[in-house]
């Protein structure tokens, strides 16, 4: 291994660096302050430049010179940028038609920095943090970007990285990166549809990704720049502010500094509540010299932020709808981003979505318990993969001709003994593709009929379980009567549509079926007898 392999995730709120350690595992590395999720914040006090957590501290005392939430502005003209997000920190102004910030560098000297420069400085800090950790020069990285980034923005990002000596070998989409990291550790072993939901600090992204033979296809993606952890903070701040006002007759929201203090502590409380049932918040001299000290339990927090949580849930159902899919089509929801730590998010989704959908959050045993590190890990994994390729090979692999592949809209499958349809290639399978199916207990003369299938949903009303004998006392009966509401169960069913081909095999013992859909869309089904090796082939 020559150069260290690094993947970086650059978020609005925090950035993470992941690296493949000599044991070939992924490590999300910490900066000098021990932060793995390094706040994407730069702050200027006189000549000094602060970065990460130290800069975040400055948000209370020195908000005018603290640049936050700048990631989304790169490559955007000022007119298109939503600058309200920077309200808490250094205000965004127009510099050369782009977004910029004015920070004072001591002695009345002011500096105008364009967002590209801010990004460069941020990346330089990340680079030096990574170099300190790894102990060698870093040049090639894989960086993640949101699905909404335009080509112009990507180019601007590449240029900003180049300026600090970072060569971006590939930009990958955040949801794919997270999914890659998840699949690396907890492979699905079959073709699935996954919703990757990234709830960050200021914005939320969700994408419906179909995994077919390990290849990811984004079926739909959605983002909301006003939905994120900050919303939760806002609700919590509101709650605390009201409580404080009631106690002390003073509103901390009237004073910017009090508000910043409250926000800072509310964020900590929120994070604590993800792990414990109760948390305390104590702020000295919050407003008008009054201290604030109270404890809040998780239930309270969930009640206070209920509105936001329902927004999160709707956001997920919306993206599923946008992909023209039904919740039943979805096999799993992968939660990533900092907000995923809150247990309420997962429980809400579990309630909302059918049971067949696995919620892969930190509480699930089949998922990483560091959802905010997934994205960076994925980038590092991708960096490891592409480090085996030279630049030309990679460029060739990333040609549109290769990335844009045809997808077959319907399922292709087999008819079972009862005439039921078993999908082999699921809808939205990208081809060329080959899938093998081994039927070990297939014996004798058999008919392999290949059909194209469509699925539909059926609602079934399950009869309530027959009442138990009426020996029980009244209380019990009352209790059980609530359960008697007929349960409606929706089911996903496939129906065979067009017959594509039939193959007859005789006297087999164990059968291996290979479905092969080549570039031109020619379907070839090969049935191979495992015992004798006889092959029957059909081509369409």
């Amino acid at each position: 291994m020559s150069a260290p392999i690094i993947g970086i995730t650059f978020g609005n709120t925090t950035s993470s660096i992941a690296y493949i350690n000599p044991k070939n595992d992924v490590d999300v590395i910490a900066n000098q302050d021990g932060e793995r999720a390094i706040p994407s914040v730069l702050s200027y006090v006189g000549e000094d430049e602060y970065h990460g957590g130290q800069a975040l501290q400055q948000l209370i005392r020195n908000p005018k010179n603290t640049i936050i939430n700048f990631r989304d502005f790169i490559g955007l003209p000022f007119a298109e940028a939503d600058v309200t997000k920077c309200a808490n920190g250094s205000p965004a102004v127009e510099v050369d038609g782009k977004v910029g910030f004015i920070v004072s560098r001591g002695e009345g000297r002011e500096e105008k920095v364009v967002v590209d420069e801010v990004v460069s400085r941020h990346l330089r800090k990340l680079k030096s943090a990574a170099e300190d950790y790894v102990g060698s020069q870093i040049s090639d990285i894989v960086l993640t970007v949101p699905t909404t980034f335009t080509e112009v923005q990507k180019e601007a990002l590449k240029a900003a990285a180049k300026k600090v000596g970072l060569n971006i070998i590939q930009l990958i989409n955040e949801p794919s990166s997270s999914l890659l990291a998840h699949v690396e550790k907890y492979p699905f072993n079959e073709d699935v549809n996954v919703v990757v939901a990234d709830f960050g600090g200021t914005r939320s992204d969700a994408a419906v990704i179909a995994i077919r033979n390990g290849v990811f296809t984004v079926l739909a993606s959605k983002y909301d720049t006003h939905l994120g952890g900050d919303e939760l903070d806002a609700e919590l701040i509101e709650f605390f502010a009201k409580d404080f006002e009631k106690k002390n007759k003073s509103n901390p929201k009237n004073n910017a500094r009090s508000l910043a203090k409250l926000r800072h502590n509310a964020i900590i409380t929120k994070k604590t509540l993800s792990n414990t049932q109760t948390a305390t918040i104590s702020i000295e001299s919050l407003a008008d010299g009054f201290d604030y000290h109270t404890s809040v339990n998780r239930m309270r927090f969930e009640l206070v932020t209920n509105k936001v949580f329902s927004k999160f849930s709707t956001f997920i159902t919306d993206v599923i709808a946008e992909a023209a899919l039904d919740p039943l089509d979805i096999n799993a929801v992968l939660l990533c981003g900092g907000v995923s730590y809150t247990p309420k998010l997962a429980t809400n989704l579990e309630f909302l979505l059918p049971e067949s959908v696995a919620i892969l959050g930190p509480a699930s045993k089949n998922a990483s318990n560091a959802p905010n590190e997934l994205c960076a890990s994925g980038a590092a994994l991708q960096a490891r993969l592409v480090s085996d390729y030279d630049a030309e090979e990679l460029a060739a692999a990333l040609q549109p001709a290769i990335i844009n592949t045809p997808h077959f809209p319907n399922a292709i499958g087999l008819l079972g003994a009862q005439g039921e349809f078993h999908p082999v290639l699921l809808p939205e399978t990208s081809y060329p593709v080959q899938k093998k199916l081994t039927l070990n207990d297939a014996q004798g003369d058999l008919l392999i009929s290949v059909y194209e299938g469509k699925h539909h949903f059926e609602e079934k009303t399950l009869d309530p379980p027959p009442k138990e004998a009426k020996k029980e006392d009244e209380e019990d009966e009352e209790w059980s009567s609530e359960e008697e509401e007929p349960e409606v169960v929706r089911e996903k069913l496939y129906t065979p549509q067009t017959k594509l081909m039939e193959l007859g095999v005789k006297g087999v013992k164990g059968l291996e079926l290979a479905f092969n859909l080549n570039k031109g869309g020619v379907l070839r089904v090969t049935a191979k007898d495992l015992k004798t090796g006889n092959v029957v082939k059909g081509e369409l």
Partner: protein, 433 residues
């Protein structure tokens, strides 16, 4: 698991070619992950699935090979090299083969500390008394004690050096004198084994048949001046505690020292003898001697070059003169023969021409005057006899054509002859008229 329906009718392959396939949708796939890169490679290189699977399988096989086996493990003994060790008395551990006990009989003195630690761990796992008794063995932990002693000895560099000095099993015997062998194959390991005692590093290699003289000489000079650290403390008799009897202790110590010195001297003598024998058997030394001899001879030859050249020149001149005389004689003889041959050929040609002219009248049917045949033949004879050589050739050439041309020619030559008074006209009346 899918259960397939039974085959009811006799269907081989039945493809519904009329099936309308739905329009496929082109979407970008995410350029991430192993599977995408595999897809890209398949597309770029136009691999078929079977080719692709073969390539992947090869890659996997390679990875497994590379990753799974610790290279050191392969050098350790699979099984105990010497089963008598199991019943060896642990009190006499010094006489046991410690390397064999550690499972290092292939490596012996070459074993590194890491390898010793690893193999010790392996041996302990295998031969720990707890494990033995679990298999129903008795409390025989003798071999385990030997393993522990072996580990103690081998892990300590000083003790290892002492043991290696007395590890005669690592010595490689030189080949028997009376048998045939390849010098380098037979002696290479001998010197390699002896070199383990060298204080000086690096150790020159024995080389091969093409090694230059200088290197061979430095190789043997290294061995002639070999500086060995071999010592024989390991074989010392145990020195008793001084508390019992100091004199006895000193006696033992003296005895030990004397034994060591004796062994050391013997070992040095052995090595000197060994090297001498190697020198005497080295084909390169023989080759170099041969070359030296040739060189000497060549030099001598060059020294005598002047007188030899004179004699040679003289000899050469004589030879040349003789050759020239011989060549002349041969040439003369040949010329004579040639002349005779030419003459005979001319004669034959003349005869042939004469015969042709004489016969031409007959061939031409006597030009239509067969009644005068005898006259014509007779007169032709005269003409032929009178013609000189050149005319003969000319006439013979001309008469080859038609009978008319033959007659005209003969007439012409007859007239010529008459005119030149070589023949009277009466004799050749037929041709003149």
């Amino acid at each position: 698991m899918i259960t397939l329906p039974p085959l009811t009718s006799d269907i081989g392959v039945n493809v519904n070619t009329s099936a309308q396939k739905p329009q496929s949708v082109s979407r970008p796939v995410e350029p991430v992950g192993r599977y995408f890169l595999q897809h890209a490679q398949r597309t770029l290189r136009n691999h078929t699935w079977s080719e692709f699977e073969r390539i992947e399988a090869e890659k996997n096989a390679k990875n497994v090979k590379q990753s799974s086996v610790d290279p050191d493990e392969l050098l350790f003994d699979e099984e105990l090299a010497d089963n008598t060790l199991l019943v060896h008395d642990p009190k006499d551990w010094k006489t046991a083969d410690l390397y064999a006990a550690m499972g290092l009989s292939k490596l012996r003195y070459k074993a590194t500390p890491e390898q010793i630690i690893k193999s010790h761990r392996k041996q302990v796992l295998k031969h720990h008394p707890d494990k033995r008794s679990a298999f129903g063995g008795l409390d025989q932990d003798g071999f385990f004690k030997i393993i522990q002693k072996a580990y103690e000895t081998l892990i300590d560099p000083t003790k290892k050096a002492q043991y290696d000095s007395c590890d005669y099993q690592s010595d490689v015997e030189p080949p028997q004198k009376d048998e045939k062998y390849d010098f380098f194959e037979a002696w290479g390991p001998v010197f390699e084994a002896e070199a383990r005692f060298s204080k000086k590093k690096p150790i020159p290699s024995i080389g091969d048949i093409n090694t230059p003289k200088k290197e061979v000489e430095s190789f043997y000079s290294f061995w002639h001046r070999f500086d060995s650290w071999r010592s024989f403390e390991f074989a010392d008799e145990d020195v008793p505690d001084d508390s019992s009897n100091r004199d006895h202790k000193r006696y033992i110590e003296r005895k030990n020292k004397a034994a060591r010195d004796k062994k050391k001297t013997a070992d040095n003598a052995r090595l000197v003898k060994l090297v001498e024998r190697a020198v005497s058997e080295d084909p390169r030394i023989r080759k170099f001697k041969e070359e030296e001899k040739q060189e000497r001879e060549r030099k001598k030859w060059e020294r005598d070059a002047g007188s030899r050249a004179e004699a040679e020149a003289k000899k050469k001149a004589e030879e040349e003169a003789k050759a020239k005389a011989e060549a002349d004689a041969i040439a003369k003889e040949a010329a004579k023969v040639d002349k005779k041959k030419l003459k005979e050929a001319a004669k034959a040609a003349k005869k042939k021409n004469k015969r042709a002219i004489r016969g031409c009248a007959k061939e031409a049917g006597y030009f239509g005057d067969e009644s005068q045949a005898t006259t014509i033949d007779e007169q032709l004879g005269f003409i032929v006899d009178s013609l000189d050589d050149e005319q003969l050739v000319e006439v013979a050439e001309k008469i080859k054509g038609s009978p008319q041309a033959a007659k005209e020619t003969l007439q012409g030559s007859a007239k010529q002859l008459v005119e030149s008074k070589k023949l009277p006209a009466a004799i050749v009346s037929y041709f003149v008229n």
